[in-house]
Symmetry: C2
């Protein structure tokens, strides 16, 4: 059965890999599953056909046979549970890897989303300049704790897992802010993630949509 | 093996059930698993012993035998996967219920957390009054989509699931704001969740910590 995901017809980031389909592409590349991509316009995302797949009118979605899913976390977990390569075999280690997926999405990403909102949606407001340092400090609180946990390890809990895939993906959103570089072990962790062949293939594939040529390599 | 969770020694909400241990208590009550609670002070949460359990220094945590987990989403999923009552048997329906857990935590909760931040941490800032309506409108965007999806159904996808448990828990945070009442089907949905005997037992148990008497009933 063919796996079909959706992605932006025109990505808000112009192919920097921050759109969430990259997370799903990365997971599929890690486990060696081929997939097809259906591009959706901003207008199309708000139309009934897409809303039936994704009630919040976003990308990515995941379709395989009669199963349709949305939410990146759920899609990546679904892929990780069905194919070897993203979750450890040991039951306890597996539960901990899933814990890191949730930590990435519900503890680390929310303050990072606030920064995106503060700059993209409120960047022209009179309070923007004074407020931004507060938003950034809330991100630093989380990064400090994450950095302390990671220490000198390569990955969050043993070998690379879906938890790392999600945490690296979330931290990548901070790249342009410079905040990540205040935590050298986290910056190195993200670089380690980006260096994975599966990430590179995913990145190239999403970029190819926007530059109109096939993925390199 | 005993299940032990952690909760606030003194809850910031004084027992209104909004601390995240309520979500875990609710899940355990739905599947009929007994549990013990270890209370942690704000100071204790930042000490090495607790940080070893929860790198972000929060509650709840979950311990059973040699397994230790943090992150409410992960704990609830772990409970739901191991005991009947929170996930459907059908594989596709199961994946969709997990999708709603992630949707609650990564799509609906972030703007609601922003409102908490705006009122609790930035309520005294000069921009607070002018900014609050923007934050509230971002919540309304999500609620409107969620309300359209729910329609006249009782639960998000068939029978009550861990996805509903998490969505109702997230929406409960809006109760004091009045925003929820703008979407009557969502308000009724939350009331339906609160009416479940398992929720009531969980609520009473967390309240008993703060009023110093055993749970009612």
């Amino acid at each position: 059965m063919t796996i079909t995901i959706t992605a932006f017809e025109r990505s808000p980031d112009g192919g920097k890999g921050l759109a969430r389909d990259t997370r799903v592409r990365w997971a599929l590349e890690e486990v060696g599953q081929a997939y097809e991509v259906r591009l959706v316009s901003f207008r199309g995302m708000k139309e009934p056909a897409h809303l039936a797949l994704h009630p919040f009118g976003q990308i990515p979605t995941y379709e395989k046979g009669d199963l349709a899913l949305f939410e990146t976390g759920s899609i990546v977990l679904h892929i990780a549970e069905r194919h070897a390569g993203l979750l450890p075999d040991d039951a306890n280690a597996r539960a901990r890897a899933i814990t890191w997926m949730f930590a990435a999405l519900n503890t680390v990403e929310p303050p990072i989303l606030e920064l995106a909102t503060a700059t993209l949606l409120e960047g022209d407001k009179p309070w923007s300049r004074e407020r931004l340092p507060l938003v950034e400090d809330r991100i630093r609180n989380r990064l400090k704790q994450l950095s302390a946990h990671l220490g000198s390890a390569d990955w969050l809990d043993g070998g690379f897992s879906a938890g790392d895939l999600m945490m690296v993906s979330v931290l990548l959103r901070l790249k342009s802010s410079g905040i990540l570089n205040e935590y050298p072990n986290l910056a190195a962790y993200v670089t380690r993630g980006e260096a994975r062949p599966a990430y590179k293939r995913a990145f190239d594939a999403q970029l190819a949509v926007y530059i109109g040529k096939p993925p390199s390599g």
